[in-house]
């Protein structure tokens, strides 16, 4: 059963957090996956929004055969540590196990800025900052040395600065408009309206990534890349965005 535990943000001391992480890791290794899930979840709710914790949580759910929750937490981890090789391997493996063939088409922006999927916002910001430093330094040098080479260095710096700025901006936009959500239940009916008596349009299975549009009276409107749309019970789907409340199972 899926339930929302609510915003019970607990301020854990650093030593307590480390102890909890250690015991959760131990529980995972010894096959006590529910205990590991509880521990990682508690750490996340206490404010440690770390990609590695989401990754570990995803692993624990995977071991418990909860594919939807595993993919949800892997996707959340990917928002924070997109370049992590282990994470990408496990996510790919988990997605292979899903039943529905739903593929996201690549747009021109994503193909042009292909590095965005492997870099997190922090790295892009730092890259932009370093190039910003380089740009103003070269402009400063050009104030005193108006040689040809300083001109070209300035030109290259400006181009790199624009690319880095655009990359950062796009990533920021992507993260703030990410409306992806994951189907959590083994099989759900997608209905024509927010009522149990409405026509069943199609079925989706655990782990399928959909686009979340809005919620009404305990129902969520979702859509697929091929323009299929429909309503699903709110508990059966969960948005990927990290600032949403984390979901944990009671048992």
């Amino acid at each position: 059963m899926v339930c929302f535990l609510g915003p019970d943000i607990m301020a854990l001391q650093t030593s307590e957090s480390e102890e909890l992480l250690f015991s959760s890791n131990q529980a995972y290794r010894q096959g006590r996956f529910q205990e590991a899930i509880d521990g990682y979840g508690r750490l996340i709710r206490s404010g440690h929004k770390d990609g590695n914790l989401y990754y570990n949580l995803g692993n624990a759910y995977f071991r418990k055969d909860q594919l939807g929750l595993a993919i949800l937490n892997y996707e959340r981890a990917r928002l924070l540590i997109p370049g992590d090789a282990d994470l990408n391997f496990n996510l790919s493996y988990a997605l292979d196990k899903t039943q529905d063939a739903v593929s996201e088409s690549q747009d021109l922006v994503n193909m042009t800025f292909f590095w965005l999927k492997d870099l997190d916002l922090g790295k892009l910001l730092w890259g932009f900052a370093v190039l910003n430093f380089l740009l103003w330094t070269t402009l400063l040098i050009r104030l005193f040395f108006k040689f040809e080479w300083t001109y070209y260095v300035c030109l290259i710096s400006i181009i790199l600065w624009i690319i880095a700025g655009a990359s950062f901006g796009l990533k920021w936009y992507e993260l703030n408009t990410d409306n992806r959500a994951v189907i959590l239940e083994q099989e759900v009916n997608i209905l024509a309206g927010p009522d149990i008596r409405d026509t069943v349009l199609f079925k989706l299975h655990a782990g399928t990534i959909v686009h979340y549009e809005r919620s009404e009276d305990g129902w969520s409107l979702i859509s697929l890349p091929d323009k299929k749309r429909g309503w699903v019970k709110a508990g059966a789907v969960e948005p990927v965005m990290i600032d949403c409340k984390p979901v944990f199972t009671a048992g």
């Binding site: 650093t14 929004k49 770390d50 590695n52 990754y55 692993n59 496990n90 400063l140 104030l143």
Partner: protein, 569 residues
Amino acid sequence: MLISCPAGADVSISMRLDREEATIADSISMVVSIAGARESDTLPVFKNIEDFDITQGGTSSRFEVINGKVNSGIDYTFFLQPQKTGTFEIGPVEVTVDGKTYRSNTTTLKVVKQPESSGADRGPLFLTAGLSSTKVYVEEQSIYTLKLYHQTRVSNISLDLPEIEHLTFRQLGKPVEYHGFYNGRSYDVVEVRYALLPSEEGICGIEPSRMKMTVAQPGRRSHRGFFDDPFFSFSTGRTMAVASEPLELNVLPLPGKGKPSDFSGLVGSFKINSKLEPNTIKAGESVTLTVLVNGRGNVNRIPDLKWPEPDHIKVYADEPVLKVKEDAKGLSGSKTMKWALVPEKEGRYKIPSLSLSFFDTETHQYREIETSRLCISVLPGEVKQVQASPDHSNGQKIEGHAKKAVKELGHDILPIHTSIKDLGKGSIIRPGGLILWSFFLGPFFIYAVVFLGLKLGKKSDRSLATLTAKKAAKEFIRKCRRDGLSSSDLTLYFRDYFNERFGLSLGSLTSEEAAEILKSEGADLDTARKILAILKGLENAVYTGKGQKACDLGEDASQLVRQIEKEIR
């Protein structure tokens, strides 16, 4: 050009018949092929051929060079005339080449009685159909044979098979052509065979098959003309269609009694064999267990055998390989399954047997076949890290071995991350960090300060020069207003003005120098000319001894300096 056959080329001999079943009246063509030699020491010698009359049909030799490789051979053709009915194993044939005797394969021929004459003459062209068995079980194959008998030349043959639900036709090899008899008349025969695989029980009616062809019409002209040549047969042929007789196939259900729980639907006749290579290894090395299931029947139903993992042995399964063969007798084939076994400890391990169930079409009952029990002896030894693959028999590195693609033996997720840094602080992106902002704003501020400093510095230099110029002009004009101004005084005042105004330290100032200075500072040429004229006048007055006399050029000189100040800023 003579090309000799390479010495030591591999010689092989094979024998084939043009059909597997014939009537006692038929003449069966047999070809003995010798590959790798252009001649033989003796003619072929036949074994088990007592029940046939044999006549030689001719000899042909083959010679070809493909990609620099020479292939040569001889084909001996013989005709067999059976003397009695029955099933005969013909061969082998022995041939001596370069003093060495080679043996061919054997082949089976079934000779049946000539069909009773129906009395009705079926004409020069007709199609017959027959079933090897009219009563079969579900999934058991029956051979459907179509024979086109023709006494005239036919070409462009096409065949329409009946479409029957729950019955699959599968062609067995290429059509064969031979010479035969029907109702005592001689015909050329085209024979094509299909395996029929029924998937549901019941009486299954097989509608007639239809063959369409172009039949040559040699009798159209009284004598053979130029266009009767086969090359121009398109102009003399007539399209005809013939149909076979309808047949009926009785498909029996597989008996429910005695059906094994692991029955996969396999029907036919099958064998199972297993081998273990090597039998003795050191701990940590791997052995390959190979299980081969082969036989005749619906081989695609051979299941992938499951292997119970014994204790202390790691098992890595290879992808099973299914081979399906189609010959005149139907479908046959084999499935090879391999496992790499890696015992963890020394000792003697018993490998449990693997079993397979199928419905035997010969005994009409279910059968279970199983592999023999095998053992591995594992000796103590250095544990090596092995590449567990069934193809690498014992994990030892073989020098010069061709590399193979890495085969995935299992799938799983990667482990959890235990070394999570900055757990106390969290790792959310903090755009407000001091270092980050100093990277963003620091260089900009430094640039702005330096830029402004440079701009301001330039401006202050210009202001100072302006002030000095104003001061010098003001002083000059004030001096020029004095009473009793002489030419010498005015000359000195001009020198002082130029020195102060332009930062010079001239002891004397000539008219040409003054004009040049003004030009170089950007004054108009007219102004330069005026100063040249005034100073020349003053120089004349001084050098002609009138220097101390009163001069009336004071006002003009003041006007000129004002003009200079306007022009030079």
